[in-house]
């Protein structure tokens, strides 16, 4: 063998020896365990701590909230979607309760092309023109507003007879109340009348005068009365003695329009019409909602922020509207 070939081979062998020695030294033990990578890095990545803790984590302490949430339509929206990741909670402090709900809720519910039709969507400028908090009307844990508008099947003639015995002295012979404090009933939504009478009867709603009167009514009476008053003509003299400013009330009334309609004629049979209603009655009712004397989760929310002047203005606005759609 020529000398230079021998040297070349010797050199290659030398390199191979050095490489064989160097590779295990320079690569960590776990490198070729499964392939051309460091097996320990898999364990390192798998051992990192999760930040989002899942809704099961919330269940342990917030049981009632979780129960309400999990029974309603937002159950697919995990707690941490709105309240943020629960890592470190409760040790590191409270999780936020969202403050800007119009911004948060419209992330999913703003009407938008590309959003599937099955998704409930609203146009914020129409649904909530004044930009009030969504939580004023909607419970975020049970957001659907469900008031059962049960079909009223009453006998108008029987209702008329019962009304003359029990109601006419205060609410007027034709369902138009004589004074400012008692509500007119003529033309009111039948489903609302039946619901509110049933609430007086069961004690869900309390009133010194109405409670004993309603307790004396049978279920059939309630249906008959509701049918009778709903069929009456709501016209009649409007109150002229208005304490509030109707123009200012009109601005505020945008907050109410979602349920009670722009002029106080509601779209849903379960919600009362308030157009042309007695102003004294309207302001009293709003004040008792605000004070929690009259119970309704939605009205409690929307009346909470109203001042006495706001209430008078609203009452003046609605009292001045025509009760006929």
């Amino acid at each position: 063998m020529p000398k230079h070939i021998f040297r070349l081979i010797a050199l290659i062998i030398g390199f191979v020896i050095v490489a064989v020695i160097a590779v295990p030294i320079l690569t960590v033990d776990s490198f070729y365990r499964f392939g051309h990578y460091r097996a320990n890095s898999v364990t390192e990545i798998a051992s990192e701590a999760p930040v989002y803790q899942t809704s099961r984590y919330c269940l342990a302490c917030h049981t009632p909230r979780v129960a309400l949430w999990s029974a309603n339509s937002h159950k697919t929206v995990a707690c941490e979607v709105c309240h943020g990741a629960a890592e470190g909670h409760p040790a590191k402090g409270k999780l936020p309760i969202p403050k800007d709900t119009p911004k948060l809720c419209t992330l999913c519910h703003e009407a938008m092309p590309a959003r599937p039709r099955t998704q409930p969507q609203i146009d914020p400028t129409k649904h909530n023109p004044s930009g009030q908090q969504c939580t004023a009307c909607h419970n975020p844990h049970s957001p659907k507003i469900v008031i059962s508008a049960a079909q009223v099947k009453g006998d108008v003639a029987a209702g008329k007879k019962r009304a003359e015995e029990a109601c006419a002295s205060c609410h007027g012979a034709q369902g138009i109340s004589d004074n400012d404090i008692w509500p007119s009933l003529a033309g009111q939504k039948a489903a609302y009348l039946a619901r509110i009478l049933a609430a007086y009867k069961s004690g869900d709603q309390k009133d010194v005068v109405m409670t004993p009167l309603a307790q004396a009514l049978s279920d059939a009476d309630i249906q008959n009365l509701a049918a009778y008053y709903a069929g009456l003509n709501c016209g009649g003299a409007r109150s002229t003695k208005l304490a509030g400013n109707a123009a200012a009330g009109k601005e505020l009334a945008k907050n109410c329009a979602g349920c009670h309609g722009e002029t106080g004629i509601s779209a849903n049979p379960a919600w009362p019409d308030i157009a042309g209603q007695k102003p004294g009655y309207l302001s009293n009712v709003l004040k008792s909602f605000r004070a929690g004397l009259r119970k309704d989760p939605m009205m409690a929310g929307v009346s909470r922020g109203l001042s006495d002047a706001d209430i008078e203005n609203l009452a003046a606005y609605y009292a001045g509207q025509s009760c006929k759609p």
């Binding site: 960590v28 051309h36 990545i45 989002y52 990741a85 992330l107 590309a114 599937p116």
Partner: protein, 294 residues
């Protein structure tokens, strides 16, 4: 005359050099072998001390269950489903991913993102935007929060939909193929990961990915990508984006379990993958996208 003078001196130089070479090789081999032994023991010591007192039981359990004592990657083969017909474009997945994985809080680096495809009545071209579009960033009011601006509300829209995107965790990943250091790899349970300590930040993988799923993380100085929240799925949790999706547009699970959500999704719906012609064999399966999406 020249020959007589140079020949002996050349011979002498050759003999000298060959002896020197032989000596160097021998010393090299001896020193190398000695050093190999010493270094090996030293490295073994440092590795066992870094993994702590659990080294021995861990090593024993390793045989049965890797990568963690509670999780065996041989029993899993992960896959991801996206039902674009359900996506409402709320971008909760994008924010959750950023928070869960400590992705830089800016508007141009994402491990997962959502695209909006809009076909207008009077326009042949599809309009595509994502959450980092300036119009959408303006609507969200910050580079750290995301929302889709209602920019097409007054236009005549023929068709529009959202498509969530993320790393496809390909069966034949091009990013792994080009990595020069073995810093990125595909695990036995089908997840493509990045070893941050081995990545040299050359960005070959960012270039190689046909889906644009990788980016260079300027905070850590290494390549970054979706891990399907490997630290969560190995603990029995869902990836963060799946956990927060309010409409179930993201589906995740183990395909070795024939009743897992993702197995049912793949079996019960006509799914497709992005860019099948790439030969990468992606493992994110889509429903409800059209030919413009790739």
């Amino acid at each position: 005359m020249n020959d007589e003078k140079t020949k002996p001196s050349l011979d002498a130089r050759r003999t000298f050099l060959s002896k020197l070479g032989l000596a160097a090789t021998c010393t090299g081999a001896v020193v190398g072998l000695g050093a190999a032994g010493a270094l090996k023991t030293a490295i073994a010591k440092s590795e066992s001390s870094s993994s702590g007192g659990q080294a021995k039981p861990g090593a024993a359990a390793d045989r049965k269950s890797f990568p963690t004592p509670d999780y065996d990657w041989n029993k899993h083969e992960w896959a991801f489903g996206v039902d674009a017909t359900k996506c409402i474009g709320c971008l909760r997945c994008v924010e959750a991913c950023k928070r869960e994985n400590d992705v830089p809080a800016n508007a141009h680096q994402f491990r997962t993102w959502v695209e909006r495809y809009v076909y207008l009545a009077d326009d042949k071209h599809v309009h595509i935007d994502s959450q980092h579009d300036p119009v959408n960033i303006e609507a969200s009011g910050s580079e750290k929060t995301f929302r889709f601006a209602n920019r097409y509300k007054d236009k005549k829209v023929d068709k529009a939909f959202f498509v969530p995107k993320l790393c496809n965790h390909c069966t034949h990943p091009s990013c792994v193929q080009v990595c020069p250091t073995g810093a990125t790899y595909r695990t036995e349970d089908g997840v493509v990961l990045v070893d941050e300590t081995y990545c040299i930040g050359c960005r070959y993988c960012v270039q190689a990915c046909p889906y644009g799923a990788r980016f260079f993380n300027e905070e850590t100085g290494v390549a970054d990508k979706c891990t399907w929240c490997y630290h969560r799925i190995t603990k029995g949790l869902q990836p963060a984006c799946v956990e927060v999706c309010p409409v179930g547009a993201r589906i995740f699970g183990n395909t070795k379990d024939k009743q897992s959500p993702v197995s049912l999704f793949i079996r019960n719906s006509r799914v497709q993958v992005l860019k099948p012609e790439s030969g990468n064999a992606p493992n994110v399966f889509y429903v409800g996208i059209d030919k413009e999406v790739n």
